[in-house]
């Protein structure tokens, strides 16, 4: 107490100065409406910048949480998007409720490779999260691969950077379909074969998934035609394409389950080979 008093006595002049200064500022504030509004303006500016700083710091530390939240939201939106893009495949002129047999789950890539000819990924969701073998893996800008095997908490995925994997694709503006496969070098350079010559092509046409494989729903955009050649002898185009998504740089992915897969599988078995 004595010390506080001593300090008060020692610094009585600055204290008196500050008190009186505060008093005169109050006086200034109450006497003139111009100064009042100016002071309010400065006060607002200071509080805004302080609030801005704290908001920026706070939001930086919340980024991870926000990302997860957005991913959850995207999962729902992705399902809706795929549903709307699949209209031509499951169209119903009688306006009966259309079935959309696909379900979307979000996951993270925890291991990715792209240097080999047969590449694989590992994602952090497994059988406990409802992941099963042969489910499709996509991102917001394209497809990534197909689930190969599943453990309790993880799953391995055959990357589309794998020359064994062939994806059924079609053109966005015509129904001509073909097969997409990796060329084996640059992770975004792919080729499309088996598109018949009577289809009309142009450079820059968009390729989407064809929806015939039971892995992928129809209408996921994949990439653009960068160049194409007519092979007169075989009667098919040879098309080079560039993917929208670089499969070597993905982190957030969605796993798609086809609820009708078993049904389709049974049906296929009955067909003569």
């Amino acid at each position: 107490m004595q010390r506080i008093l001593n300090a008060l006595v020692q610094f009585r002049n600055p204290i008196l100065y500050l008190v009186l200064l505060g008093f005169s500022l109050l006086f200034l504030n109450s006497r003139s409406s111009f100064h009042q509004s100016q002071l309010e303006k400065y006060g607002l500016y200071v509080s805004q910048s302080l609030y801005g700083v704290s908001h920026r710091i706070g939001s930086y530390f919340q980024l991870k949480k926000i990302n997860e939240k957005l991913l959850q939201e995207n999962q729902t939106l992705k399902e809706l998007e795929l549903k709307s893009k699949g209209i031509p495949l499951y169209q119903n002129a009688l306006k009966v409720n259309r079935r959309f047999p696909f379900q979307v789950k979000a996951a993270h890539v925890i291991k990715n490779s792209f240097l080999n000819q047969q590449n694989f990924l590992i994602i952090d969701k497994g059988s406990e999260n409802g992941i099963k073998e042969e489910m499709a893996v996509i991102t917001d800008r394209g497809i990534i691969g197909i689930v190969k095997s599943v453990s309790d908490h993880y799953a391995s995925v055959i990357s589309i950077l794998n020359q064994d994997l062939k994806i059924n694709v079609r053109l966005k503006n015509s129904a001509a379909f073909g097969t997409l496969s990796w060329k084996g070098k640059n992770p975004i350079d792919f080729q499309v074969e088996d598109i018949v010559m009577n289809a009309v092509l142009e450079k820059g046409d968009t390729l989407i998934t064809g929806g015939m494989s039971s892995y992928f729903p129809m209408g996921i955009p994949l990439g653009k035609i960068s160049e194409f050649e007519r092979d007169v002898q075989s009667g098919y185009y040879t098309i080079s394409t560039e993917l929208f998504e670089d499969p070597s740089q993905v982190y957030y992915v969605y796993v798609i389950e086809n609820l009708d897969r078993q049904e389709l599988f049974e049906l296929k078995k009955e067909l003569p080979q």
Partner: protein, 169 residues
Amino acid sequence: MNRNILTLMGTFILLVLLQVMLFNKLHLFGFINPMVYLFFIISYRFDSDQTLFIFLSFILGFTIDFLSQSGGAHSISALTIAFLRPVLIRNAFGVTAEIPTNFHNDSRTLNKTIFLAILIGIHHLLYFTFVFFNWNALYLILKNALLTSVISLTLIALLSSLYKKLNDS
């Protein structure tokens, strides 16, 4: 001692009246109102109690604010000047040199002028800053502060020599 207090009060009241009734209505060249009441802050004895001095200066500024319907600009600038005066004294008269007990009794004209110029300059700068209170009016603030300072300085120097003469005789 009693005579001192009386002189102090007399000077105080006289300066307030002079400022409010005469100099605030001068409008020299249209915009210059010299602030002669700073004479009180200058002539207050250098060796007296600083706390009382700060308080008195505040009252001085406040009274002038109150009587001339200005906001609080006089109070703020007078208060600040009073608070800073010991620093200014040390800087103007030298840290090691003998510091006079009274402004008017000192004979070093250069030091006195420097002291007056710094004190009046700071006061006027603060005063006009608070009057305009807008960064866009920076040019106006500087112009007003500079020109008014010159006139105030001249008047206060004149008053000081007059005061000295009166005291000596």
